[in-house]
Amino acid sequence: MGDHSHGSPQESGTVAKAQDGSLDKIQDPGLPPHRARLTDTDPRAAKRAERQVAILFAISMIGTVLFFVGYFAVGHPESIAEIRLQNMLLGVGTAFAMLGIGVGIVHWARTLMPDHEIAESRHEVRTEEDRQDAEAIINTIVDESGINRRPLIRNTLIGALALAPLPGVFILRDLDLTKESAGQIVDRLRHTMWDKGVRLTRDPSGTPIKASDVQIGSAFHVIPDGLNDTEDPLNEKAKAVVLLMRLDPEDLSVSPEREDWHYNGIVAYSKICTHVGCPVALYEQHTHHLLCPCHQSTFDLTQECKVIFGPAAHALPQLPITVDDEGFLVAQSDFHEPVGPGYWERG
């Protein structure tokens, strides 16, 4: 082999090439000769292939029958097992019905139809004459329209065309069925159902939670009291849903302004991940980590849910809580910052 590496400053050396002046190409030997198939030479093989094709088509017919067996004999399935059986019969029936035809036709084509390749010459995408004619026509069109001679018309047309589609975009504004102003849309994202004195209740039953029910190490999925009676519970829930956990107060490091936001180590944080809004649904008791199973953002409960891993960029908002006269957990106020993923107006 003559193409080992022999590098020099001028050349990387991995070029294997011919001597100068010998760049002649090798003659095209033309299409290889056609090799006859067994079915071309042996009439019995051809007959056998014919029978095989017919059998494949017959298998297709049997497949269609099988489909109807599944459809009628199983009838209206009552149990999961019956549904599974019916699905299987319909599927296998269809598979045989289709594969029988498909494999049969392809087998027919491969064994009995001519298999010698044919050459056909390519035609040009367009002829030179057509191209010149078309160019002349386009020039005439441009010329007759006078668009090049009358820049005033051209420029105002460009302006009009640039502006005219804008209503088509702005008319989509009314897709927001709430008919709110831009400011209200942003405002809506800042507020949830939580307010002073709103009870923390279990998700989804809506039963209130007593502080004494919350053991150290336990976790609750929480919604605000009255959420199920609102007009659009899912919309409210998508913002207001909260995770509640009780830790040993010793484990919590609390910043000065949040000192009274927890109650005896019971803390409440927004469940909506600050990455793109998936619920942060996994709580690891030993490490006090909260994890979003969708994108693995991890928040440390002991450090006010700051991000310790993953794509989230800011901590989970904390809901300040306390207890009411009857010992039920209640919110002190709404969240002090918007919940969920970041957006332009979040600031």
Binding site: M1, G2, D3, H6, T14, V15, A16, A18, S22, K25, I26, D28, P29, H76, P77, I83, Q86, M88, L90, G91, V92, T94, A95, L99, G100, V103, G104, I105, V106, M113, P114, E117, A119, E120, R122, R173, L175, D176, L177, T178, L189, H221, L234, N235, K239, K271, H275, V276, G277, P279, C294, Q296, V307, G310, P311, A312, A313, H314, P341, G347
Partner: protein
């Protein structure tokens, strides 16, 4: 209009054809297409699979629309699936369950629809890889490559809008992610989200809106693109592999009627049959296990459909904070602070860059090689080492993102730490494409050398001979002329240094082009020439030839 009374068809088929022709003038079509030649190669089948799965999607999708109601109105389940009885849900989810459990064949149709959707995107992707690695996108087919790329994007759009329709827990969480991404768009994101969802997330409008897109707009665009795509295939005729008898000026293959029609037509039934068989045995998207959408729960191990995986993986790989540096950039303006959620925007830019690179690659290659000729013969991937390497780098880039979408499952299945999986994938995100580029190019060059060796010295016959002196050598056999021609005829690009323009300046972009050209084409294996071949053949054995070539290169 005078009818043709001269020609009298003799056969029965002829009479029918004549009847149709006198009313439609279809004989021109038959003349044009009846014996049109299509080259044959197994790798040309992926485009067919894409077309046929799309037809299956239309058929099964039509069935599903007959029973599906895209309403988000609240209802209580009263169907035959016991675990969900009495549970509140949307009408959309209810009818999805009804299709699965209470309509005979409905579950099967759902399975066929979902499986063929996955297969559709897969076959479009593999088809594009085939076109890329063989250089089939080169002039005059650049625009068709763009149409194909558009089809890939549309296929992903069709898939995602369909994924969301059943309104189950999984699809709802997918929509929530979309909502989060939209909200991250600077200035307009909040409003776009509000308009899309008809107010707040999740609202009560989104399913009906996606339904409109999924069954009307997106399929119509796909159909339009498919039509344009096939029209251009007819205009250009098919590409073909280089080989004996195949030139840039001809097409070698089988005529449409009857061989190609039978093979391609039969293949539709095979694809349908395979999809039906998969649907019979493997359940996909068992929405009854997930329950109706609720913003609070989410199941561990949530995965998007495979074609969205790379987008989800990009979201997962991007760190939100590096040490104390947050990717939530707060920008102080006179009217107050605004926030750029770079942690979400950067992955989006990565995705757009990869898709954009795909769209413009034909022009990049044309710019670097300055090759403006028409190409109808395909490159074997090994004979275009630079392109193959770029393609492999792109595939690795995509696959790292794609694997990242399953980082949690990788962690649980292989018993490794979740965070470590992410760190490794982050490293691979940067290093993988580089290593892939280098290795793929080395392999391609090595394969070219092997071809060169076979041409000059014959193939290894597997017969060991002992000489009278006791030395063992392997006998080499000369390959036949047809094989030889196939191995020898290819184009090998050479470095094209930066050229001065008419004024004698070498522009900065031309310098860049020159250095890219050097980077791509510096290492190359030239095709064997006639002289080399004759010289090799005039020597006996291959040691003599090796010695000669070595000397040449040292000069």
């Amino acid at each position: 209009m005078s009818t043709n009374t001269v020609y009298q068809p003799k056969t029965k088929t002829g009479r029918i054809a004549d009847f149709v022709d006198q009313r439609t003038g279809a004989s021109g079509m038959v003349k044009e297409f009846g014996r049109k030649i299509f080259p044959d190669h197994w790798s040309f089948m992926f485009g067919e699979v894409a077309l046929y799965t799309f037809v299956i999607l239309l058929i099964s999708g039509t069935f599903l629309t007959l029973f599906f109601d895209p309403s988000m109105a609240h209802t209580t389940y009263n169907g035959s699936y016991n675990p969900l009885k009495g549970i509140g849900m949307s009408v959309a989810y209810h009818t999805s369950l009804d299709i699965s459990f209470d309509i005979r064949g409905g579950l099967f149709m759902r399975q066929v629809h979902h499986w063929s959707a996955l297969l559709f995107v897969a076959s479009v992707s593999v088809h594009m890889l085939r076109v890329f690695f063989t250089g089939a996108f080169r002039k005059p087919r650049e625009l068709n490559w763009v149409v194909g790329s558009t089809l890939l994007v549309l296929a992903m759009g069709a898939g995602f809008t369909g994924y969301s329709l059943p309104d189950d827990l999984l699809s709802g969480n997918g929509l929530r992610i979309i909502d989060g991404i939209i909200k991250a768009i600077p200035v307009v994101g909040t409003y776009v989200s509000a308009f899309l969802f008809g107010g707040e997330f999740p609202g009560t409008a989104i399913i009906a809106r996606l339904y409109m897109l999924h069954i009307m707009l997106v399929p119509a665009l796909i159909l339009l693109m498919v039509a344009v795509h096939l029209f251009m295939v007819v205009v250009h005729k098919h590409t073909q592999w280089a080989g004996p008898g195949r030139t840039e000026d001809n097409v070698v293959g089988f005529p449409v009627g009857p061989v190609y029609a039978a093979k391609a037509g039969g293949f539709f039934f095979i694809v349908f049959g395979v999809v039906a068989a998969i649907s019979a045995f493997f359940t996909i998207n068992p929405i009854w296990n997930y329950g109706p959408y609720d913003p609070s729960p989410v199941s561990a191990g949530t995965q998007p459909d495979w074609y969205i995986g790379w987008a989800d993986g990009a979201l997962r790989l991007m760190p939100g904070q590096l040490w104390d540096f947050s990717f939530d950039w707060i920008i102080p303006f006179p009217w107050g602070d605004n926030l750029l959620a770079m942690g979400v925007l950067v992955p989006a830019v990565v995705l757009v860059a990869l898709l954009g690179g795909m769209f413009v690659w034909p022009w990049i290659e044309r710019w670097v090689t300055k090759d403006d000729r028409e190409h109808h013969l395909l490159d074997r991937p090994r004979n275009a080492p630079f392109r193959t390497a770029v393609g492999v780098a792109g595939v690795i880039f995509y696959c790292v993102l794609w694997a990242a979408a399953s980082s949690d499952l990788i962690a649980t299945h292989f018993g490794v730490a979740l965070n470590d999986v992410t760190y490794w994938l982050r490293a691979l995100f940067f290093l993988g494409p580089i290593f892939g580029f280098i290795i793929a190019r080395r392999i391609a060059l090595a394969l070219q050398r092997k071809d060169r060796d076979i041409v000059l010295h014959g193939r290894e016959a597997g017969i060991i001979e002992m000489s009278p002196e006791g030395a063992f050598t392997e006998r080499h056999e000369q390959v036949d002329d047809y094989k030889l021609y196939k191995l020898m005829t290819f184009e090998s690009h050479e470095v094209l240094p930066a050229q001065a323009d008419r004024a004698g300046h070498v522009t900065r972009s031309e310098k860049l082009r020159g250095s890219i050209s050097k980077f791509f084409f510096e290492d190359r294996v030239a095709p064997v020439t006639k002289a080399e071949l004759e010289e090799a053949r005039s020597h006996h054995g291959h040691h003599a030839v090796e010695g000669k070539d070595d000397k040449e290169l040292e000069q």
